[in-house]
Symmetry: C2
Subunit: 132 residues, 2 copies
Amino acid sequence: METRAKERTWTVGELADELGVTTRTLRFYEAEGLITPQRAGGNRVYGPRDRARMRLILRGRRFGMTVAECREIVDMYDGAESSELRQLTTLLARLDEIADGLRRRQADIRRTLSEVTDVAEQCRGRLAELRG
Amino acid sequence: METRAKERTWTVGELADELGVTTRTLRFYEAEGLITPQRAGGNRVYGPRDRARMRLILRGRRFGMTVAECREIVDMYDGAESSELRQLTTLLARLDEIADGLRRRQADIRRTLSEVTDVAEQCRGRLAELRG
DNA sequence: TCGAACCTTGACGTTAACGTCAACGTCAGG
DNA sequence: CCTGACGTTGACGTTAACGTCAAGGTTCGA
């Protein structure tokens, strides 16, 4: 099985544009250990895997995850194939914690959203009344 | 209708404890215009209304809203009783924008959660396998 | 009366997550 | 050959959201 199918690659600038971030962000995340692009004579070369990780990270950032939290999660995606029973156990415990945290945030967002739409409804009511 | 039913009040320290934040946070939010407690001879006196606003704000903070965004929203809760048609219209438009943003975050969180639970499931699978 | 436990304002420190700038290398086009 | 567009590292700047003092005022129980 040939694992070296010629995958598409990106330069920093290209990937930054595609993701809607700056090159500084990509270099920053690399320094923080969230991504590890290949190098072609000094220059960074990003593959689909790096791109996928970046999208996960950016998605997390949008709802308040810190860069450190993002790193922890993407690292876990890799560690899940581990074969050591002890590792898998602690990993699983942590994953459940994280899932709980996400569910809490989900509840928080849901409440806020329902309040905001309520206020919007009041607005529509007042407007209909005023125009009546 | 007596609007001055003696409502419960809090000092900074009390409210901070109850909300799980520091007094610095309360003073900071006040300086930023998110809450405006009464004063009793220099000392701040928080009422149920302040407490309620704080809970909304803190809930928003938990899923990544900035303090500025929180202020915008709590301000809208007040402005919704406005009687000026023009104001209500722009307010409503903004509310809809905000709701859209919240729904996007909701989708982001939902996807992340489902991925995390997927990985957890893989872990459980590997564990069951290892333990035979 | 005195210290402990509150409160006040003001000012400076800290951390995360980048932005910005300098100084340099490389490579294609005119 | 030279400019312009891209890349590199390193270092310092910036903003948000507080933390952490310092210096002082009040109040309350021993």
